[in-house]
Each structure stands twice: as C-alpha cells, then as structure tokens.
C-alpha cells in the first residue's frame, strides 16, 4: 500500500522517489514533498501527541505556522527536535520520529492525562503543586518536565557548521508570493539592488497552492516565469529557504538560510544554515496571510486541518488527507477548497457553512449549520453537524477543512513596537501606520486578500519604496473576489474545543482564565499559555482574543493583541552562535613565547582572551604546588623569567604627555625625569581605584604606560575619553602597543648578570638604577626597551623587543641564563611572589577599594586635579573604620588561610554584624614555609600583631591568624635596589 492518498498533478517530481522512515516504518515520497505531505500521501494522519493531554494529533497546516506535527528529524548527533513536518523537505534517507509520547504514538501511556483534563486546566501548576515546597523541585517539576514537553536533544555535539553573513541592498522583499514577485519584477526592472527572500523552497507562495490563473497561464507557471526573469537580472538576489526572522533598528533584518537542511548531510565545506544580517534601505513586507481555524468540540483530531492546507496538499503536493473530506467555513474561500478537491476526484461529504447565503454547488452538498463534534480515536471518522433548521447530520469523513478567515502576517510590522489595527471587512488585524522605518507592506500581509490585489499591491509598494513616478503598468487578468466572511470564532456551547493545539488551550481554559480575573491579553497568554511555544500562536491567538473580547463585553481591537517579537519562526541556537563555539567561542591570543612554552610542557591558563603559562612542570613533579614552589625559590635564589607581554601597554606622546598623565593618575608625573619609571594608581571619577601600573618616561614628550592584563581595554578607552572629551586641546596622542612589544620579566639576584650578557649597554646599578628605563639595543644592535621595575620584589628588569623577536629573545635568555640555572615561571609563581610582597592586583583592585584602602592614600595628590581626586575625599571614604590592606598569617603554621574567608575579633561573635574584614589573595609561601594572605581589615593599619579569628563557613575553616604587614619578604626593599 504505497502512497494511497496520492492524487494526479501537483508540483512534485514523480521521477525522483525518496525513501524515508517515520517511527521506524519505511515509506516513499517524491522530491518536492514535505515530510507532512509524504506522510499524508501514505495515509498517515497521526503525527504527534499534544503537549499536555497527549491527544493524538496530525497536521493542522501546510506551512511554518504548524503547531502539531513536530518531529525529531535525523538521527545521532544531527537529531533535531521540534522540527515542523510541514516545512521539512523530503530527501532520500530522511529519518524522523514522533515525540512527546511514552510508548508508541498509537498507544501513548500518557494519554491518561486526557482523562484528568479537569485537573490540568489553565494555571493548574499554580494551583495543584502548592505544598510542600520542597516537593516542587524534587518531585513535581521533574515529573511535569518529563511528561509535558516537546522533543529531546541528542546531547551530542552538533557536527555541522553554521555561518554568518552580511548583505546590503536597496530593497529587501520578504516573501515571494504574488505580491513579492510583482514587487521584485517592478524594482528589478528599474535596476534596483533587490534581495528577495522566502522561507519556502519553492518560490511563488500561495500561487503554488491554487488552481487560479494569471493571464493565460496557471498561477504557478506565472511564478516560474517571473523567477526566470528575475534570475536573469544581475541586480536581483533570490534567496529561497531563507526566513527573515526579525526587523531590527535602522533597516537591519535577520534572516536564516537553510543551506543543507534538505539534504542527508551537508555538502563538504557547506554550512547547515547561515544567519544573514541584511542591511536594507527599503523593505517590502509581502509575507502573506495565514488561515485561521474554528473552535468546536474535539476539533483537534488528526485529519482536521485548515481548508487552505487541504488545498495546498492537493494542488501543490498532489495529496489528499483522506478520500472523504468535509469543509466547515464562514467564508467563500472554504468553498474553493471543496471545488479543488472535488475536481481532483476526492469525495466531498459536505460543505458546512455558517452563512445563510452560502454559494451552492452542483457537485456536492452545502449545509447551513455548524460542526458541533467529531469522532475518531486516532483520526477523524465522523463529524456531527447541527444544521440551521435544528436537524443533526453525521458526515462520514477522514478529513475536515476549517476556514475561519485569514490573518494577515503582520508579525514583522510589530518588531519595532508597531501595533496592528483592526479591519472589520476581513475581521482581522492589518498593519498599522507605525511600521519599522523604510517598510512598506503589500498583498495579503496588508489585508489585500485577492490575487489581483496582491499583484497590484506588490507593484505599488515597489514604486512607493523606490520613489518611482508614473502609473502602474497594466496587471495581468486574475482572480479578484472578496471572501465574503461572516465572523465566526467558535461554536456556541463548546468547551473542549481547541484554540491553541500546541499548548492544549481550549475555549474552556480561556473562559476559566476570564472567570479568575485575568483581563489583560498579556495575562491571558501567560496564564493559559495561549500563543506560546514554537508556533507563537500564529493559528490560535485570534480565536482566544475573540472569546476574551466577548466575555469582557469589548470589541477585539479593544482587547488588542500580544506583542510580536523576533524570531518569526523557531531559530536554532546553533545558527545564532555560528562558528563561535568550543575553541572558537572567543578569540585566543597567544603570547610571543607561547610556542617555546608549549615545547617546555607548560600548563596554560586563560586570562581574558590570553593563554598564559600557569606553571612549567618538570619530570617527577606530581602536583602543581611542587612546580610553583620550585619556580618561586629558583627566582628568589638565582633568576627566573616570565612572559608579561599581556600587560596592557599604551604609548603616550606629545608635548602635553606629562600633563595628561597627571590627569589620569592620582599621583604626580610632571616632575618624573626622563629615563625614570614610576608606579601610578588610576582612580575612577567616583574615587574608587580603577587600575595600576607603571609609566616610563623615555623622552620629554614620550611615556610608555602599562595597565593590568584584564583592564588593558577599559583603561585605554578611559584614557581616550579623558583625551578627547575632557581635554581636547592637549597635545597628546595615544596608541595601544600591547601586541607590538614582547615583554619579559627577568627577576632574581642573578638577573643583572644574565641580562648583561644580552644587553649592549652598561646596566650596572650606577648606570641603570632601580626604576630606570631606556631605549637600548641587545645582541649587537636589535632595538629594545629596558625597565628596572619589579613585581616580585627581587632585583628585576622587564625587557621588551618588537613582537617578531619575542620567541628568539626567550630562547636567548634561556641560553644566556643556563649558567645561572634560569627558571621560567608562570602566573602562579608570579602570584605567589606578589602576595609575598603585598602588591595589590585584581583581587585587591576589585571595584570597591580606594587608594586609602590599598594603603596608598597619601599617593593621591592634593596639589593637582586628577580623575577621582575630588570624590576620593568624600567623608564616607575616609575617617576611622576604613578597610586597610594588611598581611595575614596563621598562628599555627600548618593552618590554611583561604581567600574569601572573613576576619572576626579574637573574642567577638562570628556573624556578619561583627565582620572585621576579609582575605582577598592567599597562597603558600615556599620562602616562609606556611600559608600567607593579604586582605582588608577595618582600621588595619593600627592592628598589626593582633590575633583574630578567620572563618569561612562555606569551606568549614575556622583558624586563628595574626595580622602583619603585607610585605612578608624584604619589607625594606633592599633586594630591589641591589
């Protein structure tokens, strides 16, 4: 029994057969089918289970608005949940599974939920699972999450790539139906740069679904001819399989192109999808309209669908959902479906029309009345009709088309907070006047529901968008009839009549929500979940609004709509992320010594985007502490080398360079001699410390400023702000040179001996004292910079060369230092040595501390104006009781001193009210043989030698500690100046 419901004609390629499986069963279809049309062709109406009640469901639509037929597409790592069968293009080997079921689709064990529907009404989860509170997280929520829900994830990495692209155009046309095609022809012929995007794989929109003619050819043939002409125009770019998902500011649109979703696997080198950012000067929205269903009892059985969908399946895909079809309509469009299906040999059980003046037919029965109930457990078998004369009729049918009128697709007109307006003629919302800038709406999206109206509207919109003069050209002859709709939303007295099939929201739920006091449409949405999830209520919202309006005694426009937001259709996170995932999530910056460090087996750590060597393990070392202790001791005893390139470097030049630094640093720089370096502290304007570093004066008008690694960017931004916005006439220029210079710290008593072998100049203590800086040469002529500065507290230098020589310099230092057993050290040893010296770093400059807190209060010059100087004098930041940076060591040398622990008075209670301070940085000091820390303590300067309690309830630490100077090693700084 293959493709029992396949009809003649259609736009499928019967020469190309595609094999596919659904829930493990093999079927065949044709190229040009969707998964939904191929399943219907094979007599499969049951495609899913509903969200809450697990009711059997089939397709409702033939497009991207589909609420029901959601499947898991593909297998293994490529498995994708919640894919709409109505838009999934069929290909040979397609593999799909139904979802949201326990057991098989036909015998879903969770269908029991339907029996308990009285307990699962709107807001049931607010009412039912109130107590005990602990049960919610542990019991209720996992059960509900398991039972209610959609598809499942593969939990494997997606093997495919997703790209991002950027395109510019004069005119973006969204939708390639009759209006969009006519707009593209008009603009394309005028030479405009046009992008024409459509979510479908076949261009033509509804023209492919209809039997109407344009001029002397079928609508589909006219669309094909228009495409041929557009393809010949070099200024027109046609983008099928491309959904415009959002209208953003200033003519920027987001679009997702499904490059490979219609293939078994993407072609080599091709992405699965592309996220396009489209920059359009003008936009024509020609997104068409979506038919709406009618609510009646049990209107959700497989086989019941939109009448226009039945027509699409018959005319485009040559498929009928069943051999016997009934129609329930409130307008003339429903009759068109009956006529088309009848012409294709499908039996029309009857057309049920609510209007007394419905058109008659010679071919089938037309009843005035309403469908009041249906039967059929896994698919429709009978429809019960109550005729206007009161008689009941039972219609035998396996498919029922609902036609409740059409909703223009106003979605994109509202992305910039536009609000649609009510059009009583078609009983629907149409775009308002507050469109996104540069947008014109045409065709059915604008409420122009006839084909002639769409063609006219498309041409007129193109002329309007481009400012073209002259009359519209003569349009080809085509259908131009009104649909003569009588508004009809639901059958009186129905209760389990579905408005939102995706979220299982019925007429009863909307009434209940009204009873319980939810008056705003936004509240209705949240309480009942009407219009949520993947379809965002494209087929359901209007029904809910209409009922709400009736209950509240208001009109539909008074009730209004919920806000439409991007994306227009569900969008995979993968395509939003593009290639920025895994290792490519953010850029990786490598230091100049990276390759060398890799050769040494360094362990790396991410610092911002940088990868820095954290430590260099040697053979036999089993813990990181062993390596770090060795690196620290080797540096303090002989010489160590560390890549400090990542510190930010800003070149400051100009006759006002010193005056400029006086503004950005709280301490003075005007009197700094050429050839000298000074530590500088930058404050924010509110008086809090921002960053610290050094400024080296290489010439009267030339400084090199360093920043911390993490703040390189914000500090540079701040310096440019001060330069451009506050002191625009200062003669000073800034440029970041962080990546231009490779810079290494060479530290330890043998550092001078080592560097003397490399540096061409005399660097004796007399010639190059502590805090000296100079342009030098090394290795017989290579230009370099030397700074005698020290973060470790040892005799130390930082030496910089142009980055291209960074690798060579590191190897040179290691060679020249071999006789001193020079030891490379990483960020951990760097950290240990700076804590031993009590130097503040990021943990101390943490956005809450002042110069005073850092023990540098006297550095803030009162003789000059600098950023932050005025507000640093605020009362609240000064006076008694301020935090002060101190050193902390355990009374028992074996005790830990964890970072984050808080200080309490020795005899005081341990609680937040009596908090005295906290530990910011801690480490094991291999030089002292015990843990040490620095931190902040109230009035810390006056509490040296005090014993306190250090507590960390989180890590269950409670030890006695002694407050000391933060300078644990060489407090007089003799080593630095040696």
């Amino acid at each position: 029994m293959t493709q029992m419901n396949r009809l003649a004609g259609g736009q499928i390629d019967r020469n190309k057969t595609c094999k596919f499986t659904f829930d493990g069963k093999a079927y065949t279809g044709h190229q040009g089918d969707t998964l939904a049309s191929a399943l219907l062709a094979n007599g499969v109406r049951l495609m899913g289970r509903s969200f809450k009640y697990h009711r059997p469901r089939g397709v409702l639509t033939a497009g991207s608005e589909e609420p029901n037929a959601l499947v898991e597409l593909r297998a293994g790592a490529r498995q994708e949940p919640n894919t709409r069968a109505t838009t999934a293009e069929l290909y040979d080997g397609l593999f799909a599974k139904s979802q949201n079921r326990l057991g098989s689709l036909k015998f879903d064990l969770l269908a029991i939920n339907d029996r308990f529907s009285n307990f699962l009404t709107a807001g049931f989860y607010y009412k039912t699972f109130m107590w005990p509170a602990a049960f919610w997280e542990k019991l209720y929520e996992p059960i509900i999450r398991n039972a209610a829900g959609l598809g499942s994830l593969s939990l494997e990495d997606d093997p495919d790539v997703y790209d991002k692209g950027f395109l510019h155009c004069d005119l973006l046309i969204i939708g390639a139906g009759p209006a969009g095609l006519m707009a593209a022809l008009t603009a394309g012929r005028a030479g405009t740069d046009v992008i024409l995007a459509d979510e479908d794989f076949a261009v033509g929109g509804r023209l492919n679904s209809e039997t109407l003619t344009i001029g002397d050819q079928s609508g589909a043939a006219w669309a094909a001819q228009a495409m041929t002409e557009l393809r010949s125009l070099p200024n027109v770019r046609i983008m099928p399989r491309t959904t415009v998902i959002g209208a953003f500011d200033h003519g920027i649109y987001g679009a997702v192109e499904r490059v490979s979703d219609h293939m078994h696997t993407p072609d080599a080198g091709k992405p699965r999808q592309i996220l396009w950012r489209l920059y359009a000067k003008q936009t024509i929205l020609a997104a068409g309209a979506i038919e709406r269903p009618i609510a009646f009892e049990n209107n959700d059985r497989p086989g019941i669908m939109l009448a226009s969908a039945l027509r699409t399946y018959a005319n485009r895909f040559a498929v009928t959902a069943d051999k016997r079809v009934a129609i329930f309509t409130n307008n003339d469009d429903g009759h068109r479906t009956a006529a088309d299906l009848h012409a294709k040999g499908v039996k029309i059980s009857a057309v049920v029309d609510v209007r007394p003046d419905a058109p008659r037919s010679m071919d089938y029965e037309v009843l005035q009345g309403e469908v009041v109930d249906t039967k059929g457990r896994l698919g429709l078998t009978f429809a019960e009709v109550k005729q206007a004369d009161g008689n009941m009729r039972t219609l035998e049918c396996g498919a029922l088309g609902m036609s409740g009128g059409w909703n223009p697709n106003v979605h994109m007109t509202c992305h910039q907070r536009g609000r649609p307006v009510w059009n009583a003629d078609i009983a629907a919302f149409v775009p308002g006047a507050d469109l996104p800038a540069g947008m014109v709406v045409a065709g059915a999206a604008n409420g122009d529901l006839s084909t002639a109206g769409a063609l006219r509207g498309g041409a007129a919109a193109a002329k309007q968008a481009l400012g073209l003069k002259g009359r519209l050209p003569t349009m080809p002859e085509t259908e131009d009839k009104p649909i003569n709709l009588k508004p009809f939303w639901y059958v009186e007295g129905c209760s389990r009549a579905w408005l939102d099939q995706q979220n299982d929201v019925t007429v009863k739920d909307v009434k209940l929500s009204h009873q319980e006091g939810f008056r705003s449409v936004e509240h209705l949405k949240r309480y009942t979940t009407l219009g949520m999830a993947t379809d965002q209520g494209k087929t359901s919202n209007m029904g809910g609004l209409a009922i709400m309006a009736e209950l509240a005694g208001k009109t539909i426009p008074e009730v209004g709509t919920t806000i439409f937001r991007p994306p227009y259709t569900p969008t995979a996170i993968g395509v939003l992320g593009g290639r920025h995932r895994g290792q490519e999530f953010h850029p990786k910056r490598l230091t100049p010594s990276h390759r060398w460090a890799t050769e040494q087996g360094a362990i790396f750590v991410e610092v911002g985007n940088w990868l820095r060597a954290q430590w260099f393990p040697r053979k036999g070392e089993t813990t990181w502490r062993e390596s770090v202790d060795r690196e620290v001791l080797a540096t303090r005893n002989s010489v160590g080398v560390c890549d400090v390139t990542t510190l930010g470097k800003v070149d400051v030049q100009g006759t006002d360079a010193a005056a400029f630094l006086n503004k950005i640093y709280c301490n003075g720089f005007a009197l700094l001699a050429v050839g000298k370096t000074r530590y500088g502290l930058m404050l924010r304007e509110d008086g809090i410390a921002m960053d610290d570093g050094t400024a080296a004066r290489l010439a009267e008008d030339h400084f090199v400023v360093t920043t911390t690694t993490a703040n390189a960017l914000p500090v540079y931004r701040h310096m440019e702000f001060v330069r451009q916005c506050l002191y625009p006439d200062m003669d000073v220029q800034l440029i970041s040179t962080t990546e231009a210079w490779a810079q290494y710290a060479v530290a330890g008593p043998n550092s001078r001996n080592l560097l003397s072998k490399i540096v061409d100049q005399d660097i004796s203590n007399d010639a190059f004292p502590f805090m000296a800086c100079a342009n030098i040469t090394i290795c017989g002529g290579l230009r370099a910079r030397l700074f005698r500065i020290s973060f470790s507290g040892e005799l130390a230098y930082e030496i910089a060369v142009p980055t291209a020589y960074g690798d060579a310099l590191m190897r040179k230092i290691m060679d020249a230092g071999a006789e001193f057993d020079v030891t490379p050290y990483g960020t951990e040893a760097l950290g240990v040595m700076r804590i031993e010296k009590g130097h503040a770093a990021g943990n101390e400059l943490n956005g809450t501390t002042t110069a005073l807190n850092l023990g540098m209060g006297r550095m803030v010059s009162k003789k000059k104006d600098s950023i932050g100087s005025t507000l640093s004098e605020r009362e609240g930041l000064n006076g008694d009781g301020q935090l002060y940076q101190v050193g902390i060591k355990p009374v028992d040398a074996n005790d830990p001193v964890p970072a984050g622990a808080h200080l309490m008075n020795a005899d005081g209670p341990i609680d937040a009210a009596h908090d005295q301070g906290y530990v910011t940085s801690a480490c094991f000091s291999p030089n002292l043989g015990h843990a040490i820390a620095i931190g902040f303590l109230k009035d810390g300067a006056n509490r040296m030698g005090e014993t306190m309690q250090l507590v960390s309830p989180l890590t269950r630490v409670h030890v006695d500690v002694e407050i000391t100077s933060a300078h644990f090693i060489d407090p007089e700084g003799e080593r630095l100046r040696a």
Binding site: Y279, A659, E685, L713, R717, D865, T870
Partner: protein, 95 residues
C-alpha cells in the same frame, strides 16, 4: 543600529562601546567652592529620558573616536552624530 560616523560614514553599532549621557563631558572645576557637590552631581545624577538623548559612543573596533550621538531612546532614531572632541571644544573645554 547604524551610526553615521562623521569621518567614516555609516557603521554598525556592534563596532561601538556605549558609555551613556554626554553630560560627562561637562566635568566640573575642581577648585570651585562647590566642587564636592558638583562632582557628586556629575558622577551620580543623570537624566534617563524616554526620547531624545545625547550620549557617548566609543568606536572601539574602529578609529577609536568618541562620538556624541543624539538618539531617541524610544525609537532608536539617530538625528545627529558628532565627534566628541568637537562638542567638547564647543562647550569651552580645552586643556
């Protein structure tokens, strides 16, 4: 959004960093008698209008110009883009 840079033409807003109210250009005089109050107001009291707003944007992924962008915070419409340096000079800032 697209910001029409006075030197470089239209650029995507993603290239910029936002800082907020352009009143930050009006840094008070530190020697004024009311300096403490002036700096407090400068640092903490900002308008947050629903409508036209002059704000500072930094072309961080571009030419590193600070710009004063006059933008409607409700519609995101941009009516004017100037170099902050020119604005600062016009307000009398110098060295």
């Amino acid at each position: 959004m697209i910001i029409d840079h006075p030197l470089l033409g239209p650029r995507d807003a993603a290239e910029f960093t936002y800082m907020g109210d352009a009143k930050l250009i009006d840094r008070p005089d530190w020697q004024s008698d009311t300096a403490a109050q002036d700096f407090y107001e400068y640092g903490y009291l900002r308008d947050n209008p629903a409508g036209w707003h002059e704000e500072l944007w930094f072309h961080e992924a571009g030419d590193r110009s600070w710009l004063v962008v006059t933008r409607n915070t409700v519609t995101h419409e941009i009516s004017k883009v100037e170099l902050a340096r020119d604005v600062a000079r016009a307000k009398g800032r110098s060295k």
